[in-house]
């Protein structure tokens, strides 16, 4: 499934993504395969998403979340 399909409060493990379509900064913050991710909040109009990845709290837009494949825990 895709990271954008998680529901609030759900956890998942990052599987893979195309490096060209997500920002390098996200990788540097710890968005790497095998790391755990938890969806904390979705902003009122359905975007952005607010995650904890690699102990870092970070918000990204739905388009970016769509680029990342995850496996639900």
């Amino acid at each position: 499934m895709l990271l954008s399909q998680l529901k609030k409060g759900e956890k998942a493990v990052i599987k893979k993504f195309d490096i060209q379509s997500i920002p390098l900064k996200l990788v540097e913050l710890g968005c790497l395969p095998e790391n755990e991710v938890e969806l904390l909040q979705i902003a009122p109009l359905g975007c952005p998403y607010y995650f904890i990845i690699n102990d870092t709290r970070v918000a990204i837009r739905k388009e970016t979340a769509k680029q990342i494949e995850v496996e639900k825990l």
Partner: protein, 670 residues
């Protein structure tokens, strides 16, 4: 005495790096600019126990040496080129893994490097344990645990700084220093679009990605057994607070409540301070007039320089209060939540959630607001934010609005309790926001630019704000506003004074011409003087300029005197009021009444009709609501966009719109 040790502070954003800088240097700091760009360069100095001087630079916060914004590129460039004696990397206990990414990169530059792990006081509460000794060995460095909040670990840090020469220069991940440095400076140029080749760009990104992955693997190995977070011990305060502050209803209510409080503060709290400044400058002016002999110098100082400086200083209370609020919201970590809440809404207008901060700041001054757009990753969103920010009602518009509204709106109570003039002013604020948002929508449709919607916002953990940090921010920002705006206004007032007191041949022989003209009429000496003065201003350089543009501005309901004020207020909007005051007072220096009553009495030379009618007032309000009358903004836009094209499009576009709106306003109310 030996040379000072030169150290650089580096680290991720939100680690307390600047807080540590403030603790070390106190008020021995100053903010300058890096050459060519407007990134704040914070430098300071302090002494060690043995008397050794240390000079320190606080580099912009960055997650890695692979920069994606101008701010971050400064850190990389500085470390590559300036070669500090020692780099102090500031990390945060809670996010040590992520912080170490930057540490391993800096270590590979072969510079002596110290690791500071800050927020030691939070470790127990968050269930964090660190084996410092073992980590020191594996990371080839010295580790200092500090808490800037509780002032802990500072003397240990100073002690470690004094022994910087004993630190290892070994690399951690890269084979050798020179190949890493070469790779870094090559990729730096690609990342910054100096090399436009698509293929090379994607190749570089791949390399940077691989490098990041491998470094994280290395860090994972190093931390194993030496660093642990026991989540059962952690109290998750952040998530609880987030549930309220980013709530779909309460989140917005709280945000708009804070905005209301901020504007309330800007207008009511600052009033007594502004009155005090106003009176003080009047007093100074009076004192200096008595001190100097009468003549040109006296005029220059009293009619040009002192009111010019006073016109800048009077905004200090409002600007300081605005920055106080913004610094408070940033320092607590709340601002990122606002960005999160507003992103989708702002995108409907072609902006980003990160545009909220510039648009709020724009209500004090467009210059810091435009500088605050730097962290918007998407270039198109950033450009649009820069282009529309000057529509928001900055404090320089206030004196213009205040006097025009006082002239055309009667002071009465409407709807039972609202002051009609205050309502009109509020209307001007709303109009500014409407102009900004509507033009964003239009611009986002017009500007064809491939935009990757990159948006990554770290949501830092909530912190109690440190008074010291907020204080330093407010002092620094206010200081730089006063000096930057002050320089321009001072220059303009001197030029204005020169242009108003000099002219061509007609100007020089004004006395003769007027004396001849009134030779056979009965006229008192006083009246003759007034006639000469008003003839002089009409024929001074500035008068000639005003007369030249009169045909163009006639359809807006303005005469050549207002024309002069429009020309001079191109430097800064508030100059409008001062210029009219100067023109009317030069004509009739004996008239002691206020600028307002002088404007009320002003008539057109040809028809004898009143100048400031409702129609002219509305026309001028529209003109100043739209036109980009601010040299400092033009300069900052040029620097931030690095393009004359966009600067000129903004300037000319706003001028044309201003003319049209002023024309409609005048025609509608005539």
């Amino acid at each position: 005495m030996s040379n000072p040790i030169y150290i650089a502070l580096a680290g991720n954003p939100n680690t307390g790096k600047t807080s540590l800088f403030n603790t070390l240097t106190g008020l021995h700091q100053k903010t300058g600019n890096y050459p060519g760009i407007t990134v704040d360069k914070k430098q300071g100095s302090f002494s060690l126990e043995n008397g050794q001087k240390v000079s320190v630079i606080d580099l912009p916060g960055t997650y890695s040496l692979n920069p994606t914004s101008v701010d971050e590129s400064v850190a990389t460039k500085h470390l590559l080129e300036k070669k500090p004696d020692l780099v102090v990397v500031v990390a945060e206990a809670e996010n040590l893994k992520r912080n170490l990414l930057l540490f391993t990169q800096i270590k590979d530059l072969g510079l002596p490097t110290l690791l500071v792990i800050n927020m030691e006081d939070q470790m127990q509460k968050k269930g964090i344990s660190i084996d410092v000794e073992s980590l020191e060995k594996q990371l080839e460095t010295k580790i200092i645990l500090t808490s800037t909040r509780k002032n802990k670990g500072i003397s240990e840090l100073k002690n470690a700084i004094s022994q910087y020469e004993n630190l290892s220069r070994k690399t951690l991940y890269s084979e050798d220093v020179s190949s890493y440095k070469k790779w870094l400076s090559d990729t730096y140029r690609v990342g910054f679009q100096e090399i436009q080749d698509k293929e090379q760009q994607s190749k570089t990104k791949k390399e940077q990605h691989q490098e990041t992955v491998k470094r994280y693997q290395f860090i994972g190995k190093v931390l194993k057994g030496n660093y642990a977070i026991d989540k059962s011990k952690a109290t998750d305060f952040d998530s609880k607070l987030d549930r309220i502050l980013t709530h779909k209803i309460f989140g917005y209510l709280i945000f708009f409540g804070l905005l209301l409080l901020m504007f309330q503060a800007i207008f009511t709290w600052s009033a007594p301070f502004m009155d005090f400044i106003d009176e003080s400058f009047a007093g100074i002016s009076e004192y200096v007039t008595g001190l100097l002999p009468e003549g040109k110098l006296n005029n220059l100082i009293n009619e040009g320089v002192i009111p010019g400086i006073g016109g800048v200083v009077i905004f200090v209370p409002q600007i300081a209060i605005l920055f106080l609020f913004i610094a408070f919201l940033e320092e607590t970590g709340y601002m990122s939540r606002v960005v999160f809440l507003m992103d989708k809404i702002m995108r409907r207008f072609g902006l980003s959630g990160k545009s909220v901060v510039p648009l709020i700041s724009g209500n004090a001054c467009a210059i810091p607001a435009i500088m605050a757009t730097r962290n918007i990753e998407d270039w198109k969103e950033r450009l649009i934010t820069i282009l529309v920010t000057p529509f928001t009602v900055c404090s320089a518009r206030l004196p213009v609005y205040t006097i025009l509204i006082a002239l055309i709106i009667p002071e009465k109570i409407v709807f039972g309790f609202i002051n009609a003039q205050a309502l009109a002013l509020l209307g001007m604020y709303l109009l500014g926001i409407v102009f900004a948002l509507v033009s964003s929508v239009i611009l986002s449709k017009i500007i064809k630019m491939k935009s990757k919607s990159y948006f990554v916002v770290e949501m830092p953990s909530y912190k109690m704000p440190l008074f010291r940090n907020i204080f330093y921010t407010v002092v620094e920002k206010t200081k730089s506003f006063v000096f930057n705006a002050g320089k321009i206004i001072l220059a303009v007032s001197i030029i204005l004074w020169f242009l108003a007191s000099h002219g061509g041949k007609t100007f020089d022989s004004a006395e003769e011409i007027i004396s001849v003209k009134f030779e056979n009429t009965e006229i008192s000496e006083e009246e003759l003087k007034t006639e000469i003065a008003s003839f002089q201003i009409e024929n001074s350089y500035i008068g000639i300029m005003g007369k030249t543009i009169e045909p163009v501005i006639k359809p807006l309901g303005y005469d050549w005197k207002i024309g002069i004020a429009i020309i001079t207020s191109f430097a800064a909007r508030e100059v409008f009021v001062g210029t009219l005051a100067t023109i009317y007072s030069v004509e009739d220096p004996e008239d002691e009444s206020t600028i307002k009553s002088r404007m009320e009495a002003a008539t057109f030379a040809d028809s004898g009709e009143k100048v400031f009618t409702l129609a002219t007032g509305v026309s001028l309000l529209m003109f100043y609501a739209v036109a980009l009358q601010c040299v400092a903004t033009v300069a900052i836009v040029r620097r931030e966009t690095n393009s004359w094209k966009w600067t000129i499009i903004q300037l000319v576009g706003m001028a044309i719109l201003a003319y049209l709106f002023a024309f409609f306003g005048y025609t509608l109310f005539k």
